[in-house]
Symmetry: C2
Subunit: 443 residues, 2 copies
Amino acid sequence: MQGNSMQPSSQATVMNFLNEVAGRFPTAISLAAGRPTERFFDRLQPSALLRALSRYEQYASGRGTKRDVMASLLQYGRTAGMIEELISAQLSRDEGVVATPDRLIVTAGCQEALALCLAALCPEPGDVALVCNPTYIGATGAADASGVAIVALPGNDDDLAASVAHTAGELRRQGRTARVLYVIPDFDNPTGRVIDEAQRVALLAVCAQQRIVVLEDNPYGMFRYDGQPVPPMAALDSAGSVIYLSTYSKTLCPALRVGSLTLPQTLFGDRTARMQLFEELTQRKSFLTVNTSQIAQAIVAGLLLEQDCSLRKWVQPAVDLYRDNRDTMLRQLDRVFAPLAGTIGWNRPDGGFFLSLDLPFRFDAEAVTACAVEHGVIVMPMAFFALDASQDRRIRLAFSSVDAAQIAAGVSALGAYIAQRIEQAEAAAGVAPALATAGAGSA
Amino acid sequence: MQGNSMQPSSQATVMNFLNEVAGRFPTAISLAAGRPTERFFDRLQPSALLRALSRYEQYASGRGTKRDVMASLLQYGRTAGMIEELISAQLSRDEGVVATPDRLIVTAGCQEALALCLAALCPEPGDVALVCNPTYIGATGAADASGVAIVALPGNDDDLAASVAHTAGELRRQGRTARVLYVIPDFDNPTGRVIDEAQRVALLAVCAQQRIVVLEDNPYGMFRYDGQPVPPMAALDSAGSVIYLSTYSKTLCPALRVGSLTLPQTLFGDRTARMQLFEELTQRKSFLTVNTSQIAQAIVAGLLLEQDCSLRKWVQPAVDLYRDNRDTMLRQLDRVFAPLAGTIGWNRPDGGFFLSLDLPFRFDAEAVTACAVEHGVIVMPMAFFALDASQDRRIRLAFSSVDAAQIAAGVSALGAYIAQRIEQAEAAAGVAPALATAGAGSA
């Protein structure tokens, strides 16, 4: 993540920075944290975790004695996992991804899956991982930590396929090779955008042709509030280009640290190459975390069994809450920034946890602090997710872990800060502050 | 792990190989698996895990509302961990390591700690991790996966300090730098040897002088069956050279995947450098596993609270079992190999899970299969842990996850195989097979 001095070098640094700000201003409303709501955590009380464990034990008892089952739960486990069948079933049922247990590795959260794939697919110094710009910090951070070079796709997301083809060609001329494209097609973190089906198909064609593996990260796909779902790239992939990354952090809870990666049936048509990649990923995992905690796996398994291998019903209350939160945020943005129409813009995501706001000025770490100190609201500069200066005038707003009142007050407070910044800029430029009361007026 | 074509390239490969052998000969006795006994797993029934979780909840309830506690158990957590205080207390009480929470990172098993430290401490191409030869596959594998060069210390373990000084000097002349020494001072895996206190002090002096960080891995320190404990290197370290790696895999159970690393108070006298290293390790962890499952952490915490932050009493039944197993193995080795005294040798470890056996012939993967097929016993070639051919005539015997009858039968069967091999060699050389009935006679 070179080339942008403003960007904190990692998720940990960003989180430290935000935690520090939050710690200094404990009453500030955070629209920065992209966490799942805690509203429904009472479904995961210790007694519910025990029930899930017992449910899994009962399921597993068909395969061995009670002693065998206890050993499988407590001893060292198989590196690739213990519950691939159930995860495969859930991915097939809920996300339309035809996963099979022999192609699936259970990981210590999706982050481990990402780290494993980047390191395994980009072993040579000239190998490059392509990312959108801005993109999830965990992807660029994992690449950095493994010494994998990252190149941002130029332009915005209008024609990703052309952008990939162009960038891969440029790299080739430099003697480098684009090996991987990391992408969150559904309700991107940080932008909230969805890649439409035509674009997915075009992207797949380019990636297959260039032999670029798509790392499709889909933490938010289950959280659609409007419109028709777009098939995952893994479901549209006929060439063997897509590794599908999944997590239970948003659907169940983050603390389980259970995610998965699913390889395609063949790697660009080569079944043996896929099997070799599976072996390599498994081997790498054995040197990072040995195996994913079977206790955590068994809890996930028990919950999946209780839900008949579909989490659709389980997530429905959260989906409803997030939809309401998004609507509240959009309504409040409309109200607060009506006087600034044309100056401030934002997207209207059909799902996920985030939207992005375009500003007429630079929003940096200092702005975060000023906004928190003077207006009591914490937001996330988009620059934290960027590989260049192109995102300096944007922020990310998260609506997943706040309530309606916090959203209303937070957006109003942000409006006041933004109005003040515009006023200052206009005063400095000698322009009458015609629009500058917007934020204050709506508070 | 270049340079030895016989050595499987990883723990996963070794485990795959051994699992395959075990799968093909399911009735064979395995003296290969270095796993903890499952005999006491009934103390970790789901109901006991729930009790531990509840015990931790009660402890944590002093620090926030029930909702806060639930959130800390289920939401994204602090990267460095949630239960450092309790782990520090246990390390201080049980292992004599003065750990403090601000220097401790809770990891997804000790393997993650090892991977983080190797990558963070050896960032440059010329940086080298020193290891004993043979050594734990997880160390060399983690180094390999991170692209960290490994150099084996020459000679056997008689004068490790001189060996480190010599090797570091050699490397310097090549323009390379020894950054790390990985070592298991107590009951080494695979050899079972203990580094005595004088040697530890000498090693620390050399490492401090050369600014080599000691990664002291201590999974077996709690399993001493005879003699006086030797202080951990971390407890003898006054220069700030030692990172102490610990795990609950052997004391509680592997499936929790909870370990820790503890940094020294200063890094070679520099407190700021230690704090920077802490930050870097935390950052790297955030890109591998985000944070260690708080559910697993809470179970560990609850068990530690129930045991008053000492696991001495908890492990006592296992210590007694392992001592008996070791004694059974030593007695049976004495019996079976009495006729071969001088030809076959082995050590008599005061603790741990392993001993090593010296043979008069090469013991390779083919030998593993032959031994399993013809004699029904599976053992581990020491070559699997080696960086050169020096270990080709040794095997590792594990006595931790078998019972007395299996040990007796397994060692007898091994004796028969060894006798047969010696007989064949002598027949081929035209020597009378005087000693060759040893194994068969004792079966």
